[in-house]
Amino acid sequence: MKSWTRREFGRLTGAALLTALNQPKARGQAKARVVVIGGGIGGATVAKYLAATATAIEVTLVEPRQSYATCFFSNLYLAGLRPFESLSHGYEALAKQYGITVIHESAAAIHPAVKTVALNNGSKLSYDRLVVAPGIAFRDRALNGYDEAAMEIMPHAWNAGQQTRLLRQQLESMEDGGLFVLVAPPNPFRCPPAPYERASLVASYFQRRKPKAKILILDAKDSFNAQDLFQDAWNRHYPGMIEWLPAQFTGGVTAIDAKTRSVITEGATFKAAVANVIPAQMAGRLAQQAGLANQSGWCPVDPVTFESALQPGVHLVGDAIIGWDMPKSAFCANSQAKACAFAIAADLTGSARFPAHLFNTCYTYLAPDDAFSNAISFKPVDGKLKSVISFISKVEESSEVRRQAARAAEGWYDAFTHDVFG
């Protein structure tokens, strides 16, 4: 007889937690089909929660990559505090444990009128509902001279993967005393505190290995997320190392010269030893091509069902949507994805509808043992997602409270990635 370890037993009871909902409409009918395009946080969460709780639905996930590397926590990798492999998550559990058909292909086009998706390999998928979670793309010609070739010299590292590794290599081989220039994007963009968390953690790396190095942040904005918390931490942990220049001081970054690794603002040219250029963003390419984005570059959706306001039968979640008060964070994508999955299940299987609970929680590192957290709840009000309750850590908190938050963040990463991919 097999003897169960506590862990295995726990896994069994845990699997039971995602129990099937009551699905009255679904009895005796052919299975409804949902296709999800995009296996990032939003897409993978929709696929998992539909497959686990709406058993009368057949779920297909279309994602070209074999594994997904998280942007969140990639700043710890850049600072040499975490191996790259620890950011990477495969799709095996979604396929094997939840019965999702995972197709490693790119979607070429969607045809909402006939409810099909064309894949790059020439095959076609039919759907009853489609979920598109395309993440972000960079705006064309947002910065003069910042093209694909320039990205290989001055990486954005804003989609975790080869770009993140490239930036890490550059930081490692930079000489002590070098200038690291970080170009921060205009609103709205993926993960509002992340450019400043990146500056903080790179500073912690410099402090350990290259104490004479400097960091210059050239911002497209005049203020940024949790600015008081960051600036307090920069003074405490890295005095004199990080300089932040708002757009009103520089006139904004207008061009990039990859040949000289320079960032050009209206008034001056800054020559970098290493440059991280994070350009202006918009919804992912597929959303643009499929007519899911409006003139803002982002996708308008219904705040209850996350169905596209432009294409019926197509839902969107994550960074690509117009989220109103909801920031473009992995936590928001995951929260939206669950609400979207339950709304689709209710439509297709008749399962009960309840008011959705939408949240954002972020842990942000200021130093390896100093992190802050925020928590916001959101509600649909007058066709928009409005923040209802909002808390954030305070500048005057004790170092012990911050140390605990830095530890809690690690536990959160484990639980959260398990919720999405496990």
Partner: protein, 101 residues
Amino acid sequence: MRPVARSAIAAGLVLLVSQSGAAEEADQGAQLASTCASCHRLDGGGTIIPSIIGLGEERLTNALLAYRASQSPNHIMHAIALSLNDEEIASVARYVAAQGK
């Protein structure tokens, strides 16, 4: 229709309604519990962030009520609990407690 038959049908209806009420409460609990899963591993594993599996309905209810009442010790749980009404706290606590058994 004979009175006995009529009351039997009525009793049957009551039973049906209460069964679907319980099923609906379980579904509400399941949907709410999906929020817990963003931070708490529900397979009994995980580190640092405390497990909520195996705590029992009363302890979960009391914890959520305490978190709702005060921002200390945890503003994340305070924000989550503030978004829940009494009925929602009852269904999510009952649901999560049942999974640990």
